[in-house]
Symmetry: C2
Subunit: 687 residues, 2 copies
Amino acid sequence: MKIPFHPQSTFDAVLAAPAPAPLDPELHMDLHVDLRLRLVAELCRANALAAIKLAGSGHMGSSLSALDLFTWLHFKVMNTLALSAGHPDRDIFFSSKGHDAPGYYAVLHAAGRVQQDMLLALRRRGGLEGHPVVGQPGIEAGTGSLGMGLSKGAGMAEAKALLGRGGRVFVLTGDGELQEGQNYEALRRAAARGLGRLVAVVDCNRVQSDRSVEDTAPLGDLGAKFASFGWAVETCDGHGFRALDAALARLDQHKDKPKAIIAETIKGRGVSFMEHPRALAEGHGLYRWHSGAPTDELFCSAHAEVTARVDALALELGLALPAPLLVDRPEPQAPTPTTATPATATPTTSATATATPAVSSAVSPGNVAAAYGRALAELGAQRPELVVLDGDLAGDCRLDEFRARFPERFFEIGIAEQDMVSAAGGMALQGLLPVVNSFAAFLASRANEQIYANACEGTKIIYACHYGGLLPAAAGMSHQSVRDVSLLGAIPGFLVVEPSDEQETADLLAYLVHEAKGPAAIRLHLGPSPAQLPFPPRRGLKAGQGTLLEGSSQADPTALVFAYGPVFLAEVVKAAEACADLHVGVIAMPWLNRIDADWLEKILRGVAHIFVVDDHSLVGGLGSALLAALHAGGLLTGRSFTAMGVEGLPACGQAAEVLRAHGLDGMSLAARIRVQIEGHGGTVHAR
Amino acid sequence: MKIPFHPQSTFDAVLAAPAPAPLDPELHMDLHVDLRLRLVAELCRANALAAIKLAGSGHMGSSLSALDLFTWLHFKVMNTLALSAGHPDRDIFFSSKGHDAPGYYAVLHAAGRVQQDMLLALRRRGGLEGHPVVGQPGIEAGTGSLGMGLSKGAGMAEAKALLGRGGRVFVLTGDGELQEGQNYEALRRAAARGLGRLVAVVDCNRVQSDRSVEDTAPLGDLGAKFASFGWAVETCDGHGFRALDAALARLDQHKDKPKAIIAETIKGRGVSFMEHPRALAEGHGLYRWHSGAPTDELFCSAHAEVTARVDALALELGLALPAPLLVDRPEPQAPTPTTATPATATPTTSATATATPAVSSAVSPGNVAAAYGRALAELGAQRPELVVLDGDLAGDCRLDEFRARFPERFFEIGIAEQDMVSAAGGMALQGLLPVVNSFAAFLASRANEQIYANACEGTKIIYACHYGGLLPAAAGMSHQSVRDVSLLGAIPGFLVVEPSDEQETADLLAYLVHEAKGPAAIRLHLGPSPAQLPFPPRRGLKAGQGTLLEGSSQADPTALVFAYGPVFLAEVVKAAEACADLHVGVIAMPWLNRIDADWLEKILRGVAHIFVVDDHSLVGGLGSALLAALHAGGLLTGRSFTAMGVEGLPACGQAAEVLRAHGLDGMSLAARIRVQIEGHGGTVHAR
């Protein structure tokens, strides 16, 4: 399907148009001076939808709710576009939540600060990243993990004052995002420091990932909260330019106070079926348009609605706009010839990009997160003391079955990972067995000290670290978690596991619930598994022992590759098949920081070359644990050991692109293995 | 000096005394029914001071400010003492700040829940820990790192409801502690969940570590904050039992709201020169009695003041109290015969326990933190873009010289590590070079995701991780940081260093400021160095290269021990001397995650045995980096490699006790080295 896209020349034409004659303000409300900006905003809406459709994923709801705010700030309020990029006196803007990046990028494109090719390559290698990244055009701060923006903006305001620079700092936040405690640290400090040039704009769209804020983690009176921390606050319509102008003018009377505009917005604004009052009703409380991408049909329907408003506004302005370009959805750059599976339509997940399938199979390869959700509910039935805590990611974390069956044992904490982990600590001290859920990037890192503090209390808590590893890679480095094993591994007695298929998921979770003595993390891939892995018939889990997968070198491997997770193991299986002449066996190793020494010694008999492929940094992952175990067991003598893993910051893009960029796709791995074993030649993928 | 101590029998006598006849409430205010409890509280004040004096360190100011609250809750409000320990329906109490543990322990002792020997061994192996630890008597939650308590208490309240248990949950917090953002996550949730059985009691003593809250990080209207989050709030005198009773009674009218008592207290209450209005005036804004221990003279003066009130109250009650016991200050259990240095009187530091000196020397061994403070100010003079951020630990972090010289470039953030790190990120994006200061246990862990997010922006920020490592060990596991290298090491391009003496401190900090390209952490021992280390004449730092110390095996070592930090290196030097017959050389290795391969190959020529002694967990410290480098360089062949480090949770106690408990004192290390080299016999210290 061709996707319509408005090029920058269209925006230039709109912005160059003469201002329309003033109309009766009583009749036209805030439109009379802003008709051109209304048109810009609608054209950007169309382009944001197009970019998300091309990318196959992205956050629609908040891109649309925030779009009028982006437009107002850039074209009516800030000096940024009038000054050169990087000018020290420029006004600074960034979105703390960052999820609304497609909308923001569309406005930057309209303003000529982002090139069309970059926007059309949203969430792909070489294009704009899924969340804002410093170094990309127009981006003042890297965001995506929630709740850091006000702190950062306050720091910028301090720096501007210290350096004698002009300009204000505008930070957009979500309302759900204000559940993060760090915001209140920043609110307190900004007021105490009298940072009058700091302006928070709350895109108050009343909906978070899955549900309404009210249904998830009610915020109460936001205005009273800001005021109680010493801020000047105004609440107004977040889609009305004149209302926003008036609110900011009132705030500007408070010279030495930081300022907050609580902008009342509609999530999904401008697409009738995505607008939250209707969408929540139709979804029976679930909001389906937080992220993902619409189907072809729904995209056309949404785009047509926006286009109708574009046409009406152009007519009113007397402008004849050129027809949009029609662009192709680019084909994935698969590193190896495989059959691409269509991305499953899962609009409630935050990151739906899936890995390229690695091993063809007739059997559905399944989904470890889904298996986790089923196993969790089953274990909940067996263990009445099991409670589940969620940090506003119940859909992605597959908690709905548990919630439906055991609502009294399900705790929706909201976007507040530290509170969630410490609350679990309190529950465990009272005899419950908490299972704490969030994305690995947030849980293992932001709540790290709280996890340690719980471990110091000797209680048992299970941390489900969803979205572990490099993939999906479309959301970018704020969401990709390749440090979590290192973050948890130095806590005494803390076990970290990662399953590779549905069976192993159920087995590992049961082990953690029924058998593990101390705290543990189960790391889970997000999204469907790319391939059915050739596991032999299961004979139960043994702690610290992996499984030799079936394959052509199963009987007599002289090289072994240790790996884990559905995506990375699938790539390793491909690599091993490509190196069948070298007798390369594959070990599925779900125990990332516990290795049975006797098993290791036994499995390595006759093996001359040992490899590990970490879906993690080379520092602190399975490779580190394996090297330590090999050394401790005297097993390095006469053998080579090669650790591969994610080097550098995680790349953003489609799965195949990103695996290849890191040299971790099957063919790159095969080449690296061959070089090591043969000691010469072969092509190692350059990174 | 003998220390007076009131045994439990004295409390029994007071509590068994008949209630005094009611007096005229107009004259006697809230005393008329509570005279016995007043006496209990004063006796506990005396015992808390005694325990701190015996320990040589402890938090005096908040032990004294909170003591009336502990007494009121336990003897007037809660059912806990009436029920058996662990009764499911018991009221739960814990202090979120935990710094007030000596005061709390004294009340638990008065109530018969803590034995005298445990209290008299405060902050020593086998005694009560410096901060509360689950498993010790009367402790419901492990605390010490700030801001987690309300979350935990709310979790307990949820659990009680789910399990159908009775009892309320009382959580004491500090006021400074309410700078931590996690509190507001908990406030929001507790109100949304209607946790009516949760009661926060704010020990609102207006002073934090070094200075008043107002001078550090003003909190504004605390009551309005609680109310804006949906809590029922009352403010009252925190030393008046009747005022507290009345406040709680008013709060109890709000059945389904969590409740907060803002108890206005005096820091250092009951010792005239420690009471904060006078102490702040005398200290010109600095509060000297937050932690540490008083001199003999000041202890006697403080104790006499309390005793005078004890005597007056006993007289009024008609009680003849027995004279207190007189107990000895126990001698340190030095693992090896050395000359003990007197603990320097540093009452503004949070943890003054110092390591046992390891190597005798005529030259003062110095203090790396002090050297850091001087170097920082000097670098500040050279680099106008250098700014310093502090998280309410300016005294311990030795920031006073920088603050005095460059006040406009010094930012006191308060107890809000996440905000501090993200603010530094914003400043760095504007072109400043921030140096961020806190204790390693808090900075590397609590702000971990913020540090990663900053690194993703490509800016350069220096994180000064003070109080790194196992020692001082008196404050306990919440403050001991043996995971920080693992927490930072997987961030791409992130450098972690730790100096071992003053010269290396200055050199490393200059390297980080002038030469390092990316973000870095400098890990610093807190407190004086135990010994002058035998460094050869310096020839400048080379990245990734350590220094062979001078010693008897310097010329021809056949074994090398890599270590770092003033305390651990001193122990290793002792060990090497004890193994002089085995030709053991010592490498001071300040680069904890960067090793120059060529240098390593060269220094290992002729070396058959390699050891590393990590002031860190065995996971993710220098040992891990060294093993990887040795393997990568093919340097393991024909050599043994032995990693030693902190195993298990860090022990609490005096330095010598704790080093020995972990098998990391000089003599234990010597035995472990000997066993490895000789391959037999020798005594390895049992752990």
